[in-house]
């Protein structure tokens, strides 16, 4: 349980027409590069989520954190694993635990489509941060819709570009997927102002999943987060990095062209600056982590060379650990 939000469990494999070959190849160890071959976001999301959930069922971790409703007496045919053994110890009688029907969760995916998200490093296999973010968004949307949770989408750069309110219909997923597919990153970033404008639009509390690199003034960003928290939203920030941004592995003279501002270029020898850049990076990340912790915000870093399902599992484990 995360901040009062309920999470439906267990997952039910939706009854879609899943091609058999996909079922056979579903694996939560497919890398983003491998999945690049799947051009359709929807298909990709399905593959990832289903592969993820298939793995879940094989996992020894049973069930997710659910809301207990009541006990009922055991009848023949009930699954033995649902017996509440504590009650048996107390009463010498067999009772089955029944769970609360989940209430609908309203999630809004806030996707950064500024110019900086268009970066693809040397180890990402051509996958830009935006590609990764959209696939991640698609996977999350797919998972939520098929749990009958509401999911919405906001895309932004220096202002809000598109707002799709949360819905739980399956057809709503199409809308989201289409927006994810056609969106093109570009423009500058101004997280603070954008989020400030977004607060009034999200008048019902819910889960905000921010998928961004969070590049910009940390203070402004945290200020905006504080606004969301004030409105009682739960926030998870999926910070998308490229490996090159984390390691700065460049050699030889390089001209760095800014993805967000035309004409901003710097020709330099990266070896002369690497150490200072990494120190600056560490300071930035540290500041962000501290700020998010202060506001009870989950900050989950993702690197574009990591599989989506691994990222999803890492996230879900964190959520269940606190339930």
């Amino acid at each position: 349980m995360l901040g009062g939000c309920l999470v439906r469990a267990p997952f039910v494999i939706p009854s879609f027409d899943i091609p058999s070959f996909l079922m056979a190849h579903v694996s939560d160890f497919l890398t983003p590069t491998d999945l690049q071959r799947i051009s359709s976001l929807q298909v990709l999301a399905r593959v990832v989520v289903e592969g993820f959930t298939t793995g879940l069922h094989r996992s020894p971790h049973k069930g997710y954190s659910v809301e207990f409703k009541q006990h009922r007496q055991y009848v023949a045919g009930d699954e033995i694993r649902h017996i509440d053994w504590r009650v048996f110890a107390r009463s010498d009688r067999y009772y089955i635990r029944e769970y609360e029907e989940e209430t609908n969760l309203r999630s809004t995916i806030i996707l950064d489509r500024s110019g900086s998200m268009n970066y693809a490093g040397s180890k990402s296999g051509g996958v830009t941060k935006y590609d990764y973010a959209t696939r991640l968004a698609a996977c999350l949307s797919y998972m939520m819709v098929h749990q009958a949770d509401g999911v919405g989408l906001v895309t932004f750069d220096d202002k809000i570009r598109r707002y799709i309110p949360p819905r739980s219909k399956v057809s709503h997923l199409r809308l989201i997927i289409d927006e994810l597919e056609k969106g093109k990153p570009g423009g500058e970033t101004d997280l603070g102002d954008v989020f400030h404008d977004l607060v009034p639009k999200l008048h019902r509390r819910g889960l905000l999943i921010i998928i961004s690199d969070c590049f910009g003034e940390v203070a402004n960003f945290l200020k905006a987060m504080a606004h969301f928290r004030h409105a009682r939203h739960e926030i998870v920030v999926f910070q998308i990095w490229d490996r090159d941004e984390l390691e700065f592995p460049f050699r030889g003279w390089t001209q760095f062209d800014c993805l967000e501002q035309d004409g901003v270029k710097h020709l330099l020898d990266p070896a002369m600056l690497r150490q200072a850049y990494l120190e600056n990076l560490a300071n930035f990340r540290d500041e962000l982590v501290k700020g998010c912790r202060k506001h009870h915000i989950d900050l989950v870093p993702f690197c574009t060379d990591e599989p989506y399902s691994k990222a999803l599992a890492a996230y879900m484990t964190r959520r269940l650990g606190r339930a």
């Binding site: 910009g216 062209d257 330099l268 150490q275 200072a276």
Partner: protein
């Protein structure tokens, strides 16, 4: 600076490679569309200027590395302001010390042997076309007459050279060689001095001369490189016969001669039982041969020998000590001419009735000169005296005498004066006593050439009673050989004789030359008593009072006999040129005029012989031989004449083997800009440096390593040392 592999200097152009690479990389940059510009820009803002400077520094170092590598591989040599010799032939002057100190040895090898062998190797190793000249410092002459390109002739001549000569004077040798070098043809020149660095060869007093000699070398058209080669292994132990003292007056047959040998121990070890021997004419005389002497370290002592010569002629005495490494100074020779009889002609100005009459002017003198004959004692008198009246003196009897004594002679005629002048000029001795018959006008006039001083008047009273005499001979210390005897009171004193009257000699007109008259003794009145003058080869001594007792009481004194004898012997001793010489002094011999035009045979110390011409000079034949550089015995023989011995002794300064310290040698070399070597290997290395310059690639290697490591370290430092954002 020069380079041995100059072609590799082209590699300096490789300094452009890092620059080209830098520009190439900078031009072929990658373009990265970058998202995290805010992180990068922040770093650039705070470090941009510094980054530029650091990049320039690294670029400069990277350009310097190949340049320094190229310079190093081109083998730089430092030559200073000098022009290098390279492979060209050289004109080499070698100063070889063959003074007798070079005979010092250690472990059986003499310093001179080492020096000579190294000289042979040095000359033999000169480049083809080189010319060489070797100067023998102990002898003061060149090995060959002039420099030569026939190096084999030099090495052959070197094989015959030995040590044992006189003192090596470095400034004089350098001066001589400067003149020789100036005539040499090559423009690549060097001077090498091989010596044992004895202090005596480099005395402080010669410092200025040394500087001047070296300055002269520097001012030559092609100044030479000067190298000092230390071949000396210090040998501290040495005993030398420093000198012999014996009577400088004529020695007669049967006369006892005292010979005092001065021995010095220059070493640090005492010599308690040092044996000293005397040889006469090559033979040890029984009973007079050996004498023991005890010498402490660094001290001197004396040994006294006496000998009686039984034959007239030229004799040689040798004093020898026990052998030590430096043999040349263990022996001291002296040539002593021994006379049979000394003939003295007494010219009596107022003779007595008979020749033995003491009333004559010469009676007392006759007895004093031949005491044994006068006393009819069977013993030989050295002096044979004959008496003639004033008019009896003639050219014949004058010429046949060794000494002529004029006693109170009033006048002599012109022929007699002429004969006397010739006699004295040719080395004869004239002793003149005044008296009441002395004619001052004649003395100052016709006799003036021979008279030491003019007569100015008389003093005292010839009729004074005993005890009231006006003057006495002043008590004084005598420096004249004829009067030295009277410095010892045991030999009597002249001061106890009374002088009643005397002639006053006028003060002399001094020219400052050696012929100026000298006052040998004075009366206590201040007037001269005995005066001497040189005339030609001979001498004249004049006494201001009488030879007899008319004007003084000298004949009655014990001092009278030795005085008269010594005066006569002294005057007779001047007949011969010195037979005991120092190295380099000219050997001179007087021979009868009849021998002029012939040749005399001179036997040298190494037993070789040379023929020397006899030249007519005046009324005699003269032999002159200047090349007495080698110490030892020289024998001169004229056909039909007697053998005459001449001895050349070396200055004993070389006997002190005390060597300059290493520090002193270094200071000497540094002061005058000279190089010092101690072995053939060192000389070879120095020669290489002088020919090609000093290789200095090692400093360049060090610089290269510093740059290489520096570049690595700086790169790391610059990368880490960024200012934080």
């Amino acid at each position: 600076m020069n380079f041995l592999n100059a072609a590799l200097l082209a590699g300096v152009a490789a300094l452009s490679i890092p620059l080209i690479i830098h520009l190439f990389h900078k031009s072929r940059f990658k373009i990265v569309k970058w998202g995290a510009m805010h992180l990068l820009a922040a770093v650039l803002r705070t470090n941009q200027k510094r980054i530029k400077i650091e990049q320039w520094i690294l670029l400069a170092i990277r350009c310097a590395i190949p340049a320094i590598l190229a310079l190093m591989m081109a083998k730089p040599v430092w030559q200073g302001a000098k022009q290098m010799l390279g492979e060209q032939p050289t004109s080499t002057a070698v100063l070889l010390d063959n003074s007798y100190s070079m005979e010092a040895e250690r472990a059986g090898t003499k310093n001179f042997t080492i020096a000579r062998d190294e000289t042979e190797r040095l000359v033999g190793g000169l480049k083809p076309g080189s010319e060489a000249y070797v100067f023998l410092m102990g002898e003061g002459r060149g090995l060959l007459d002039q420099s030569t390109r026939d190096l084999s002739s030099v090495t052959q001549a070197l094989g015959k050279v030995g040590a044992g000569y006189g003192v090596a004077r470095v400034p004089a040798a350098l001066d001589f060689v400067a003149g020789t070098l100036d005539k040499m043809t090559g423009n690549a020149r060097q001077v090498v001095l091989l010596t044992d660095f004895q202090r005596v060869s480099f005395p402080a007093s010669d410092e200025k001369l040394l500087g001047q000699a070296l300055e002269r070398l520097k001012k030559l058209k092609f100044p030479p490189n000067v190298t000092l080669w230390d071949v000396g292994v210090e040998s501290k132990e040495n005993v030398a016969v420093e000198s012999l003292d014996f009577s400088k007056l004529m020695v007669g047959v049967g006369q006892k001669v005292q010979i005092r040998a001065n021995i010095r121990n220059y070493g640090d070890t005492a010599r308690p039982d040092l044996r000293v021997t005397l040889k006469v004419d090559g033979f040890e005389k029984p009973g007079t041969a050996g004498s023991q002497l005890s010498l402490a370290a660094r001290s001197s002592g004396q040994v006294l020998f006496t000998h009686v010569f039984d034959k007239p002629g030229s004799h040689v005495i040798e004093i020898e000590t026990e052998a030590d490494p430096v043999k040349a100074d263990n022996l001291f020779l002296a040539s002593i001419p021994v006379r049979d009889k000394l003939t003295v002609l007494l010219v009596d100005g107022a003779p007595g009735a008979t020749p033995d009459d003491l009333k004559g002017e010469t009676g007392f003198a006759q007895i004093a000169l031949s005491p044994f004959a006068s006393g009819k004692v069977e013993q030989a008198d050295l002096i044979k005296a004959s008496v003639v009246p004033a008019e009896g003196a003639n050219a014949k009897n004058i010429a046949e005498s060794n000494v002529v004594v004029l006693a109170n002679v009033a006048k002599l005629n012109d022929e007699q004066i002429k004969a006397l002048e010739l006699f004295v000029k040719q080395g004869g001795g004239l002793l003149v006593f005044t008296g009441d018959r002395t004619d001052a006008a004649w003395w100052n006039g016709p006799f003036g050439k021979l008279a030491p001083l003019q007569i100015g008047g008389t003093g005292g009273d010839p009729n004074a009673k005993p005890g009231t005499a006006a003057a006495k001979v002043a008590a004084q210390r005598f420096g004249h050989p004829s009067l030295e005897l009277f410095n010892d009171p045991r030999n009597g004193t002249l001061a106890d004789a009374e002088v009643k009257a005397w002639h006053k000699f006028k003060a002399p007109e001094r020219t400052g030359g050696p012929d100026d008259p000298a006052v040998l003794a004075r009366l206590d009145s201040g007037d001269p008593f005995l005066v001497e003058k040189t005339y030609g080869e001979g001498r004249v001594i004049a006494c201001s009072t009488t030879l007899d007792s008319d004007w003084n009481s000298l004949p009655a004194r014990p001092s009278y006999l030795p005085l008269i004898q010594r005066l006569c012997v002294y005057l007779a001793s001047n007949v011969y040129p010195p037979r005991n010489l120092q190295v380099g002094e000219q050997l001179v011999s007087f021979l009868p005029a009849a021998t002029a035009g012939k040749k005399a045979v001179l036997t040298l110390p190494d037993t070789s012989t040379v023929e020397v011409p006899i030249v007519k000079k005046g009324e005699r034949g003269v032999v002159e031989y200047p090349q007495t550089q080698r110490p030892g015995l020289y024998k001169l023989q004229v056909a039909g004449g007697e053998l005459v011995h001449y001895v050349v002794n070396a200055d004993r300064a070389e006997s002190d083997l005390n060597k300059m310290t290493e520090t002193e040698i270094k200071v000497l070399a540094k002061t005058h800009g000279l190089q010092v070597v101690r072995s053939a290997a060192e000389f070879k290395a120095l020669d290489k440096v002088q020919r090609y310059g000093r290789e200095i690639w090692k400093p360049f290697l060090l610089i290269l390593l510093v740059l290489l490591f520096g570049e690595l370290i700086l790169q790391q430092m610059f990368a880490r040392g960024r200012r934080k954002v």
